[in-house]
């Protein structure tokens, strides 16, 4: 299979719909994750940590831009997709709908949300669609440092205070299950993609996530959750749970304020 738009158009309509959903989910999640990291450029515990999250925000935005550009093979105008959608059209994972309330949540975001997102990306990159398989390896190389930073901070906080450890536990319990459901779904549309060789199976990818996060979960005395079904309110069109990111984040993602300054 090649990466041409003809190849995409040759897919049966449901598979094409599912594949577009997957790419949009990856791109939107990266765009919103970049926004969430950017909230901490000035609030991180040290200058170095602020520089690191700044760099990670740039990574996520760059990856999102590359993923949006792939959508032209589906007949989309990537600029329209990036700049003209309402919050209700976003396919980003629901665990990023609200800002990270504290540094512990940022750390769990790096380990859990960014980690599951990278597994989903790895799955799509291992599929037969060349525009993705050609781009994903560089993205994953950049992502290695995100996970490393998150795991190092998680260990530090977990070992330093009972309060910090309790906060991490609470946050992991809050986000791990819905993030697995959202980014590695097992609904019929995803099943079609696996059958078509466009991505790896979500169960296989969840197993890889389990292996990656187990040392962090053990530090917090948590078990990897049992994931059954897609949960209440699953939106099969967007491939995410109910709701949408806060409007303020989407305004920033679209660049509304920056574009208002353009002079025609």
């Amino acid at each position: 299979m090649t990466g041409s738009s003809e190849t995409i158009q040759r897919l049966d309509p449901e598979t094409r719909k599912g594949f577009r959903r997957l790419i949009l989910s990856l791109a939107d999640t990266k765009r919103i994750l970049g926004i969430r990291y950017s909230d901490w450029l000035l609030g991180a515990p040290s200058i170095e940590a602020g520089i690191a999250v700044s760099s990670m925000a740039q990574d996520e935005w760059g990856h999102a831009r590359l993923l949006y550009s792939v959508l032209k093979d589906f007949g989309d105008d990537p600029l329209e997709v990036e700049h003209s959608r309402d919050a209700s059209a976003y396919a980003s994972v629901d665990t990023l709908d609200r800002p990270f309330p504290d540094w512990s949540a940022v750390v769990v975001g790096m380990v859990v949300v960014d980690g599951v997102l990278s597994s989903a990306l790895e799955g799509a990159g291992s599929g037969a669609y060349e525009p993705l398989s050609g781009r994903v390896s560089k993205m994953l190389a950049e992502e290695e440092f995100h996970g490393e930073l998150g795991r190092a901070w998680l260990r530090r906080i977990a070992e330093s205070s009972g309060v910090g450890r309790a906060r991490l536990r609470e946050r992991v319990e809050e986000v791990l299950l819905p993030t697995l459901r959202g980014l590695l779904p097992t609904d019929p549309l995803q099943g079609r993609l696996v059958e078509a060789g466009l991505t790896a199976s979500s169960q296989e990818l969840r197993d890889r996530v389990r292996e990656a996060v187990t040392p962090s979960l053990e530090l917090l005395e948590l078990e990897f959750p049992v994931v059954e079904g897609q949960g209440e309110g699953w939106d099969p069109d967007r491939g995410r749970g109910p709701g949408h990111p806060l409007e303020e984040a989407v305004e920033r993602a679209r660049g509304d304020r920056n574009r208002a300054l353009f002079v025609e």
């Binding site: 040290s46 170095e48 940590a49 520089i51 690191a52 760099s55 440092f145 490393e148 930073l149 530090r156």
Partner: protein, 79 residues
């Protein structure tokens, strides 16, 4: 939690001299690795290493950024 200073050295190409490019403050080695890579990523480095400043042994100077690790009993050596 106490941070310590790590000095960062890097070379652009295989065979180049390893140069001191800066420092980072980090809680441990794992964080120092990420901070060093993310802070000094303006170049495409062939190799980068971070060294705890406390592990650097000054040889001939009693002043400058590395002097703190110098054993007090050691006299300054003339160049």
């Amino acid at each position: 939690m106490m941070e310590r200073t790590y000095d960062v050295f890097a070379r652009k190409n295989r065979g180049d001299a390893l140069c001191h490019v800066g420092y980072v403050e980090a809680l441990d080695d794992a964080l120092a690795r990420v901070y060093a890579w993310k802070t000094y990523d303006e170049e495409k480095w062939f190799e980068m290493v971070a060294v705890p400043r406390s592990a650097i042994i000054p040889v001939n100077r009693a002043d400058g950024p590395f002097a703190g690790a110098r054993p007090e009993s050691e006299p300054e050596r003339s160049p």
